[in-house]
């Protein structure tokens, strides 16, 4: 197939793929946001992020099947539980490696992801478990059918992303975070407990991944490896947006979801690769990423 000819494609197909792209983009944005916040503050590339996203989905599923807690309860509880797990990881392990090279953080979190995913796979197998949509039905928009829950996910992700941006860029706590990212020693000498701030940041970043996992549960199958492939794309998103940039993560996440959806319509075989092609091009032109600042 040659170049994409938009007029040969049915509107229905185009819009449903773009919606799918937007939903994928919503997850890219939420996950890369957490990664960006964690990297900015801890200087650790959190490779456990995909596993923590999976843990969010599993927590929601277990809450429903074992404790009969409905989706809306899990949407609040699961991120708290997984966030607390993140806090334990940070206190016990991550805090010991901040003074070392990035590589050690990468290895530690990568190993942790392997262990966590292995344990879940061992206990619950590889085949996914279904999770019923909490908002059944949908709307016929004339040019396409919009499942209600998917519409909700896009709006919820936007709200979550903008709320996180606001918290970091416009609040007192956010100012502490930004300042501590630049010069933790001085911020601490002002009387702020920076180690506690770092722990909290990791807990929040992990909680954000788990929140994305809960939102994903009714769309995808809940399975041990659901975060593995996703996290690779999310790392590409973070690199394209610019390491540590909050707005960069949000815009790039949604934008690349759409690019991917559009590629699925125009040239389906390229849809898995297109994000990495974009990454290579961006790195050639702007090595610090679209929104990144060179130090």
């Amino acid at each position: 197939m040659g170049a994409c000819n938009i007029f040969e494609v049915s509107t229905q197909l185009l819009f449903s793929q773009l919606l799918l792209g937007l939903i994928n983009g919503a997850f890219y944005a939420m996950l890369s946001l957490g990664l960006a916040v964690i990297f900015g503050m801890l200087n650790v590339i959190n490779f456990t992020h995909g596993a923590q996203y999976m843990m969010g989905a599993f927590a929601a599923w277990l809450m429903l099947t074992e404790l009969h807690i409905p989706f809306w309860g899990a949407l609040v509880l699961a991120p708290i539980v997984v966030g607390l797990f993140g806090i334990v990881i940070e206190r016990l392990m991550l805090k010991r490696i901040y003074h070392l090279d990035h590589l050690y953080g990468f290895l530690l979190t990568f190993g942790l992801a392997q262990i966590i995913e292995g344990l879940f796979q061992w206990n619950w197998g590889s085949s996914g478990a279904p999770y019923q949509s909490p908002i059944p039905g949908g709307y016929n928009l004339g040019f396409m059918f919009l499942p209600a829950y998917r519409g909700f996910v896009v709006v919820a992700a936007l709200v979550i992303c903008l709320a996180t941006w606001y918290a970091i860029e416009r609040t007192r706590l956010g100012a502490y975070l930004r300042a501590a990212t630049e010069n933790p020693t001085l911020v601490r000498a002002f009387g702020i407990n920076v180690p506690r701030l770092i722990t909290l940041t990791y807990g929040l970043g992990v909680g954000l991944a788990a929140l994305a996992g809960v939102l994903a549960a009714p769309i995808q199958q809940v399975s041990a490896l659901m975060g593995t492939n996703l996290v690779l794309v999310v790392f590409a998103v973070v690199v394209i947006g610019g390491m540590g940039s909050i707005m960069g993560s949000i815009v790039t996440g949604f934008g690349l979801g759409l690019v991917e959806g559009f590629t699925k319509v125009c040239y389906p075989p390229g849809s898995n690769t297109v994000i990495f092609v974009v990454m290579a091009l961006v790195l050639l032109v702007k090595p610090a990423g679209l929104f990144g600042q060179t130090k």
Partner: protein, 234 residues
């Protein structure tokens, strides 16, 4: 001397393997303005950092208001009413002027209000929405001093506040430091610029090779000019 606010005794400090301070001792009374003088590398900045608890390792004794702080983390030390203005100023580029100003939390009651600080530094008010690092060197220095006045800390550690600034700005900083002293702040000032230091300080401690080697009161400076010049290599 008034009641002792800061008493440092046998203070030693290290960066990695480098042993920088070899038993520094001095004391400052409440409301006093004292300088640490000495050549480059004598350990003046490290002394401030060691008092603040931001060196890798320190031993000895640093008593603030009679309370030992040698085992405290720097955030806990700051909470006891001591504030630090670093040599490199430490203005945060991701924060605007007002955010920089509001960053250090209040550690005690009785700090200056934002309006009072802007009265002291009118330039900063005009530029309060600018990115902190877009200010001129002098303005950044004013911001670095201004932001620690809000916190209620009554002991200020100022590291070379006049470094690299134009004479007219140095004069302005001098006026501000005298104003702060008249408002009751206790100030430990590190200075290379002795002519500046001599105009503001009550006493001078001279440092050499990580130790305090001499103390000269402001009234005795004239009689000791030769000795001071030898110490400072000027």
């Amino acid at each position: 001397m008034a009641e002792t606010l800061l008493k440092v005794d046998g203070l030693q400090a290290w960066y990695g393997e480098s042993h920088i301070l070899h038993g520094v001792g001095f004391e400052i009374g409440r409301g006093e303005l004292v300088t640490l003088l000495g050549r480059n590398g004598a350990g003046k900045t490290t002394t401030l950092k060691a008092v603040m608890g931001i060196v890798e390792r320190r031993t000895g004794s640093v008593k603030l208001g009679g309370r030992e702080t040698i085992r405290d983390a720097s955030n806990a030390i700051a909470r006891q009413g001591i504030a630090y203005c670093p040599e490199e100023r430490g203005i945060f580029s991701s924060l605007n002027v007002e955010e920089n100003m509001l960053l250090p939390p209040q550690v005690k009651a009785g700090g200056m209000s934002l309006d009072e600080i802007y009265q002291l530094f009118p330039n900063l008010k005009e530029r309060r929405r600018s990115q902190g690092t877009k200010l001129s060197g002098g303005e950044q220095q004013m911001l670095a001093i201004g932001r620690i006045l809000r916190t209620g800390a009554d002991m200020l550690l100022l590291d070379e506040p006049t470094e690299g600034l134009a004479p007219v700005i140095v004069q302005r900083i001098g006026e501000v430091i005298r104003t702060l002293k008249s408002r009751g702040f206790t100030i430990l000032l590190v200075e290379q610029n002795f002519r500046f230091a001599a105009t503001v300080a009550d006493r001078h401690y001279v440092m050499e090779d990580g130790r305090v080697v001499d103390m000269i009161a402001a009234g005795d400076v004239q009689a000791n000019v030769g000795k001071l010049q030898a110490y400072l290599g000027v």
